[in-house]
């Protein structure tokens, strides 16, 4: 049964079209095979850096610590997709100069941002899956799967990625350029304070508080637990869902305020060109 696209609500149409545009923008600059290689090379290099660092010190390619590092890093590329949403604003405003037509077209601008971010999210999921499969078959990492926990974690990740997209886009409205600094800087912050490549207990006490208050630390641990790498975190999953949804509502509020302010001050479509 074919779906009548025009009968869908405007926000959904905008979301789907932006998802499709995100896929096209990211992938059609080269041949499909080369694009697949591109998708794999970047995350593979980042994990190889960690493996070589581990090998230089321990002289081994096995161990619980490596498993911890490997899975955490594979997961982080998905979280990073939320931060990358900053590029949507930079591209729409500075490069493609399409921010005004997109804004006035039916459906909210938020639908567009979420559509573009979802494309990035799907690419990241693909890269992570490739990394985990490679870890299982090549490095013989002892990975298992707890399906209900895994599905719950992926849904939670989607919520957290949306929160990150809303918050970082709120900042991006007010910076003329330099999306790369926001992506790099914010990723660095999350990489340090999310227990991605080392447990939060490695940090000094005053920094550990930040890491333990950070929902992504617990999310990363849930992901590890869903793959049988470690025991499930102490936080109950339903409480985590509840907290995430409250933060999501708050982020939505912040985004709307930021958008209104950006429109009022004229920064929404301000083009610096330097």
């Amino acid at each position: 049964m074919a779906i009548d696209f025009s009968s869908l609500p405007a926000y959904l149409r905008k979301f789907l079209l932006s998802l499709w545009a995100g896929w096209k923008i990211t992938s059609n600059w080269t041949e499909p095979l080369l694009f697949m290689v591109y998708l794999i090379v970047k995350p593979l290099s980042s994990v190889l850096i960690l493996i070589v660092m581990f090998y230089v010190i321990t002289g081994s390619f096995t161990g619980e610590q490596l498993l911890f590092i490997y899975v955490g890093n594979a997961f982080f590329s998905i979280v990073r997709a939320g931060v990358s949403s900053v590029w949507v604003i930079t591209e729409d405003r500075e490069w493609f100069e399409t921010i005004k037509p997109i804004f006035i077209s039916p459906g909210s601008y938020l639908s567009h941002i979420l559509g573009r971010t979802s494309a990035e999210f799907l690419f990241s999921v693909f890269s992570s899956v490739i990394l985990l499969v490679a870890g299982f078959f090549v490095l013989k990492l002892p990975l298992g799967i707890n399906l209900p926990l895994f599905i719950s974690t992926i849904i939670l990740t989607l919520i957290i990625t949306t929160i990150l997209a809303l918050l970082f886009c709120s900042v991006a409205f007010f910076v003329g350029h330099g999306g790369e600094f926001i992506v790099e800087g914010a990723s660095g912050f999350l990489y340090l304070f999310s227990g991605v490549i080392f447990p939060a207990s490695t940090l000094p006490t005053f920094l550990r508080i930040i890491a333990e208050a950070n929902p992504i630390t617990h999310l990363t641990n849930f992901f590890r637990a869903s793959l049988g790498v470690s025991a499930a975190p102490q936080v109950e999953l339903w409480k985590f869902y509840l907290i995430s949804l409250i933060i999501l509502a708050l982020s939505y509020f912040i985004f709307n305020r930021a958008l209104k302010l950006a429109l009022k001050t004229g920064m929404f479509d301000q083009k610096l060109g330097h």
Partner: protein, 272 residues
């Protein structure tokens, strides 16, 4: 002749000014530019602590972190710059300016070095003051030579790459992106490059930052000699050659690519 030199100097100053002033024009961006990049470096320092590495490895990461800021700048603000300018519709203005394109690129490099050095210094400050990482200035002359020669070679390489990116479309953006993590791996930003083995480390030595990192670690880290791949003087020698060759190649590359871009009508082509 004097007027011509003066004009070129003005072009250098003009282009450098835009870069220098931009750091205080966007104050909201300042934390993202200066403070937050340090955190990624801190993550690698804590990773080494987690796996029980000696403190010298923290200094190794710190030097890698300092050079990362320059490498990212060369990629995103030098190599891809002419591509950005084309995307924003400024490129044709560059070609109308009565000055050499090399002067414009040189101005860009000077301005970039200034702004990037602020980021690099903040990374260095955090490493030395907050993490109290061990550092030992065993050979100050070699350290200074390595640093300045590597910057000259790196920005020369950026100028050369910018001529290639001039004719490319959206693949330029993705190529810059692709030059991040794989180069971090190949150049040994966070581990001694010799761990990759002789063949890979030799290939990696074609990138100036590999040689700079290898040399600087030997002269700045206590016991750093053990981490070295090539003797320091060889690193200096190769970097000196690169610092001359890359700008020279950039000059010819830019002229060739400019002709090609004009012939194929790519100077004003946007969004492709």
């Amino acid at each position: 002749m004097f007027k011509k030199i003066l004009r070129e100097l003005r072009a250098i100053r003009g282009r450098a000014y835009v870069r220098m002033v931009s750091i205080r024009r966007d104050l909201l961006l300042l934390p993202f530019q200066v403070i937050l990049p340090v955190l990624a470096v801190a993550a690698y320092i804590y990773l080494y602590r987690f796996i029980g590495a000696p403190p010298e490895y923290g200094t190794l990461v710190l030097i890698g972190g300092v050079m990362t800021t320059y490498w990212l700048n060369v990629l995103w603000s030098m190599a891809s710059q002419l591509y950005w300018e084309r995307m924003m519709g400024n490129l044709q203005i560059y070609f109308l300016v009565p000055a050499s394109k090399m002067s414009i690129l040189l101005g860009m490099a000077v301005g970039s070095m200034y702004t990037t050095s602020i980021r690099a210094l903040s990374t260095l400050f955090v490493g030395l003051v907050i993490f109290r990482l061990p550092i030992e200035l065993k050979n100050p002359v070699a350290a200074i030579l390595l640093f300045f020669l590597s910057l000259s070679a790196l920005y020369g390489m950026g100028m050369l790459l910018s001529s290639v990116f001039l004719v490319w479309g959206r693949e330029a953006w993705h190529l810059s992106s692709l030059f991040q993590e794989p180069i971090y791996l190949l150049s040994g930003f966070y581990f001694p490059v010799k761990s990759l083995g002789i063949t890979l480390a030799t290939v990696a030595s074609l990138i100036p930052v590999t040689l700079a990192l290898d040399g600087m670690r030997q002269v700045l880290i206590p016991g750093g000699e053990k981490m070295g791949f090539l003797p320091v003087w060889i690193n200096i020698l190769i970097l000196a050659v690169m610092a001359l060759v890359f700008p020279y190649l950039a000059y010819y590359g830019l002229n060739y690519m400019e002709r090609l871009a004009k012939k194929e009508g790519r100077i004003t082509t946007r969004w492709q």
